[in-house]
C-alpha cells in the first residue's frame, strides 16, 4: 500500500465522486477527466504503460471531449434544476452503497486465499503487439468491425436530418 497508490486512489476517488455529484455538468466532465487521469496513473503504476496511455488517449482525449460536445449541443450546460425528489436520490445512493459493501466483502474475503505474485510483469508494446497479432487476432478484427460500425452509426444518428436531405 505505497503512498503513491494511496495518493492516486485519493485523486481518482475525489475526481469520480465530484464527477457524480457536481451540479454543473461541464464541471462533472472535467472532474471525470481528472479521475480518469488518476486511473491512467494507477495503470502506469501497475506497469501497464500501453493501457495507461490508451486510457488517456481514448478517454481524456476523445470521450471527455465527446461528452462535452454532447453537453454543449443538448444545452444542458446551464445550471441544472435541483436534484429532484430526495427519495429518488436516497434509493440510488443506498443501492450503490449496498453494492459497494457486498463487493468489498467479496474482495476482502476473496483475496485472502489468493497467493499474490509480486514480481513486476513486463508488458512491453512489442509483446502486446505480438499477443494482439497471434492470440487475440479475432477480437482485434471484431473490434475493428465494431468501431467502424459505431463510427458510422454515431455519425448517422447525430447527423442533422435536414443535411442529409438537402
Amino acid at each position: 500500500m505505497t503512498i503513491s497508490f494511496l495518493l492516486l486512489a485519493a485523486i481518482t476517488i475525489a475526481g469520480t465522486a465530484a464527477a457524480m455529484s457536481l451540479r454543473n455538468l461541464v464541471h462533472c466532465v472535467l472532474a471525470l477527466t481528472l479521475g480518469l487521469v488518476g486511473l491512467a496513473a494507477l495503470y502506469l503504476q501497475l506497469g501497464a504503460q500501453f493501457v495507461g496511455f490508451t486510457q488517456i488517449l481514448v478517454y481524456v482525449g476523445a470521450v471527455a471531449i465527446l461528452a462535452v460536445f454532447a453537453i454543449m449541443m443538448t444545452r444542458s450546460a446551464e445550471p441544472t434544476e435541483p436534484h429532484g425528489s430526495s427519495s429518488f436520490q436516497l434509493s440510488g445512493a443506498l443501492i450503490a452503497g449496498i453494492v459497494f459493501a457486498v463487493l468489498a466483502w467479496a474482495v476482502s474475503s476473496g483475496t485472502k486465499a489468493l497467493q499474490v505474485q509480486t514480481l513486476q510483469p513486463e508488458a512491453s508494446v512489442n509483446q502486446i503487439g505480438v499477443a494482439l497479432m497471434h492470440g487475440f487476432v479475432l477480437p482485434l478484427e471484431v473490434i475493428g468491425l465494431l468501431l467502424t460500425a459505431a463510427l458510422i452509426g454515431a455519425g448517422v444518428l447525430a447527423m442533422d436530418e435536414t443535411r442529409g436531405a438537402r
Binding site: N24, L30, V60, M72, V125, N126
Partner: protein, 391 residues
C-alpha cells in the same frame, strides 16, 4: 572530444547529481533532466516570436519589429513584460476555476509532451517504450484545455472558437497519428529513442532517414500539414482568425494567462515539429555521415529551427481555409492518403529492396494523391464560394 561536447549536458547532469544525497537522487535526476528543457523551449518560444514577426514582415515587404533593441531583438522581452504588466481581466460571468485551470492545463500538457522527445544522443527525459503513444495521448489533452478556455469565458465568440478549434484538432489528430503509424511500422517500436537509432545509420553519406522513402515523404508531408492544423496555425488558424471571431478561445484572457496560451500554442508547434523530426528527419542524427562530429542536440535544434521557419513561411503565404474546406480536406484527403500510405509502407516492407519497390510505392502514393485531389476538386470542395445573397 566531439563526444564530450555531444554528451556535455548528460555528463554535467551526472556530475551535479554527485553532489546530491542518495535519498534525493531520483528526484534531483528528474529535476536536472526536466529543468533545462523547461528553460530551453520557452527561450526558443521567445526567439520564434521575433523570427515569426520579422519573417512575416519581410515576406510582406515590410521590416517587422525593429524598435525594441537592435533589429527588434528585445521584442520578446517587451512582449513578456507587456503580458506580465497587463491587467488580468476575468469576465464577471466566467467560471473562475475553469477559467484559471484552462491555460495551466494547456501549458502542462504541452510541456509533458517533451518528456519523450530525444533532443540529443541519450538526452531524453523519459525513454518510454510507448513514447509515441505517450506523445499523442498527452497531446490530445490540449483539446480539453482549449474547450475549458472557450467554455469558461462564457462568451459566444470564445465558445464558437473553442468548438471550431476542437473540431479541427480532433479531425487532424487522425491523419497525424496514422502518419506516425507508418514510421512505427518501419521502426518496429513505439519508443522514440529506438526510432531515432533506427535512422542514425548512414549508407555512404546518405542518412537512413525515413523521409527519403516514398511513404516516408508522404507521411512527413501529411504529418506537417496535420501538425499545423493541430497547433491552429496559419492556413488552419480559423479558430482565432482575427478578422472573423477576433481571437478565438483565448479572447477573454488577458495579461499573463494570454501569454501562457501563446506559450502553449508555440510549445505545441515545437513539440509536433520535434516529433516530425524524430520520426522522419532522423531526430538528432546528422544529415550527412561526415557531419557527425557536430553534437546531436545542435542537429536537433537546427532541424527544429528550419521547421519553424517553414511554418512561418507557410503562415506568410497561405490564405485562411474555410471551416468546411478544412474539414473536408482532413476527412476526404488526408485520412485516405495516410491509410494508403500505411498500405504503401506495408508493401514496401514486404517487397525486396530495390528500384521496383521504389517505383511501386511512389506510383501508388502519387496516383492516390492525384485521384484524391481530383476527387476534391471535382466535388468542388475548393471552388470559389458563391454567396447566394451577398452576390
Amino acid at each position: 572530444m566531439p563526444e564530450i561536447i555531444d554528451q556535455i549536458f548528460v555528463l554535467s547532469k551526472h556530475w551535479l547529481l554527485g553532489y546530491v544525497p542518495a535519498g534525493l537522487q531520483p528526484v534531483f535526476s528528474a529535476l536536472l533532466s526536466v529543468v533545462p528543457v523547461l528553460i530551453a523551449f520557452p527561450l526558443l518560444f521567445a526567439i520564434t516570436t521575433v523570427l515569426e514577426r520579422k519573417g512575416l514582415g519581410r515576406m510582406q515587404n515590410r521590416y517587422g519589429p525593429n524598435r525594441t533593441g537592435p533589429f527588434g531583438i528585445l521584442q520578446p522581452m517587451a512582449d513578456g513584460i507587456k503580458s506580465l504588466t497587463k491587467e488580468d481581466i476575468i469576465p464577471r460571468t466566467a467560471d473562475h476555476l475553469v477559467h484559471l485551470l484552462a491555460p495551466l492545463l494547456l501549458v502542462t500538457a504541452s510541456f509533458l509532451v517533451y518528456a519523450v522527445l530525444p533532443i540529443g544522443r541519450n538526452m531524453v527525459i523519459a525513454n518510454l517504450n510507448a513514447g509515441v503513444l505517450f506523445f499523442f495521448a498527452v497531446g490530445s489533452m490540449v483539446e480539453l484545455a482549449v474547450f475549458m478556455a472557450g467554455w469558461s469565458s462564457r462568451s459566444k465568440y470564445s465558445l464558437l472558437g473553442a468548438m471550431r478549434a476542437i473540431a479541427q484538432m480532433i479531425s487532424y489528430e487522425m491523419p497525424l497519428v496514422l502518419a506516425s503509424v507508418v514510421v512505427i511500422m518501419a521502426a518496429g517500436s513505439l519508443s522514440t529513442v529506438a526510432i531515432v537509432n533506427m535512422q542514425a545509420s548512414y549508407t555512404g553519406i546518405w542518412p537512413h532517414w525515413y523521409v527519403f522513402t516514398p511513404w516516408g515523404l508522404t507521411g512527413f508531408v501529411i504529418f506537417l500539414i496535420a501538425a499545423t492544423a493541430e497547433s491552429n496555425r496559419c492556413p488552419f488558424d480559423l479558430p482565432e482568425g482575427e478578422s472573423e471571431i477576433i481571437a478565438g478561445y483565448y479572447i477573454e484572457y488577458s495579461g499573463f494567462k494570454f501569454a501562457l496560451f501563446f506559450l502553449g500554442e508555440y510549445l505545441g508547434m515545437f513539440a509536433t515539429s520535434a516529433m516530425a523530426i524524430t520520426l522522419f528527419l532522423g531526430g538528432w542524427a546528422a544529415p550527412f555521415s561526415f557531419l557527425t562530429w557536430i553534437p546531436s542536440y545542435v542537429w536537433f535544434f537546427t532541424k527544429l529551427l528550419t521547421l519553424i521557419l517553414v511554418f512561418i513561411w507557410i503562415r506568410g503565404t497561405l490564405p485562411r481555409l474555410r471551416m468546411d474546406q478544412l474539414m473536408n480536406f482532413a476527412w476526404k484527403f488526408m485520412l485516405p492518403l495516410s491509410l494508403i500510405n500505411i498500405f504503401g509502407a506495408g508493401v514496401w516492407h514486404y517487397m525486396p529492396a530495390g528500384l521496383l519497390r521504389w517505383l511501386v510505392v511512389t506510383l501508388l502514393v502519387v496516383v492516390s494523391c492525384i485521384s484524391l485531389s481530383r476527387g476534391l476538386r471535382r466535388g468542388k470542395w475548393f471552388h470559389v464560394r458563391t454567396y447566394r445573397f451577398a452576390a
